[in-house]
Amino acid sequence: MERQLNSRLYEDQSKLLGVQSQDGRQAEAFTKAFLKNSLPSLSQESIRQFMDRKAVVLEFAKKKKEKQKRKRAKGLNAKQRREMKVFQLKEEHQRYELFLPLHELWKQYIRDLCNGLKSGSNPQIIQQKLLKADFHGAIITVVRSKCPSYVGTTGILVQEMKHVFKIITKENKLKVIPKRNSVFGVEIDGFVTHIYGSKFQLRSSERSAKKFKVKGTIDL
């Protein structure tokens, strides 16, 4: 077998195949180079030892694995959010009594925030704190508004959007009241504050970071 491999090709065969056989030394150099190329992990010496004993699979050179790029951004984009209706409340959940515990929680939160609302506490400081406080769960009333039909609506504030308050009234109705051009009253333990909606046109999360500036007057 080996002899056959090492032997030169006959002349007619080489013509037929279109291959010229090289002489011994060249052939050896070629095989060595070839083996070294296809077995990059072994040294010259070990290749020779290896060849003495074992059959070699020539397509051995390891291909480097390309690392798959990880997908970034797990979040939803705006379109998907709209399709999923991420923040839209369903109608069957709109019941007033379901939100009473939320109101209790909110009252507790405000008391905690202002260290207990006593008659002696400074109203200005409390209002400063309420400016950055959260109003989800508060009972709010529309005190004044440019549109007279909004005036007098009372309910638990459920969602605060940028330009709109969503309120659940006692009749289990979700009312959407624009902040613009209306004044809201919030009552906690006998302490009443007024929110001027025109100045409050922010997302509730942005309000905690924003500085409020004195700007203009509100006439309503």
């Binding site: 979040g75 939100f99 515990p101 939160y109 950055k132 406080a133 959260d134 969602q159 999360s205």
Partner: protein, 135 residues
């Protein structure tokens, strides 16, 4: 459940109170009506944006109960499924799957592993002590 505020660190106390309130409110809404995912999600979303805006760090135990994709509050059995599963490397993992968007999170459960926040050095009181000691 939030980072311990030191006696001197009252700077963002109100914001932390607000975060706390929002987190509790989300739980409260879900406790009243487990199907009202949207509102709880809204509260979690506001909580997250506040903490992002003011750069307030939240405890991992809080962050792990919110879905990263759709921001819903993950309560096992109500809005999320929690399963123990063996991974390829034979490590046991906790799989938390959000039921509304299908996003999964994997946590390795290794009894030897502790989060940095749970380690005693991470507490602020211990840190100041070690800093003052050598000097």
């Amino acid at each position: 459940a939030y980072n311990p505020t030191m006696a001197g660190n009252i700077k963002d106390k109100e914001a932390f109170q607000r975060l706390n309130f929002l987190y509790q409110a989300a739980h409260c809404v879900l406790a009243q009506n487990p199907e009202n995912v949207e509102l709880a999600r809204f509260y979690c979303y506001t909580q997250r944006t506040i903490s992002k805006r003011l750069v307030l760090r939240q405890d991992p135990s809080v962050k792990r109960t919110m879905c990263k994709k759709c921001y819903s509050l993950l309560v096992p059995g109500v809005t999320a499924t929690v399963r123990q599963r063996k991974s390829r490397k034979r490590e046991c993992r906790t799989l938390v799957r959000c039921l509304s968007c299908g996003q999964t999170r994997r946590f390795l459960n290794d009894p030897e592993h502790h989060l940095w926040v749970d380690q005693p050095e991470a507490q602020l009181e211990n840190q100041t002590q070690t800093e003052q000691g050598p000097s």
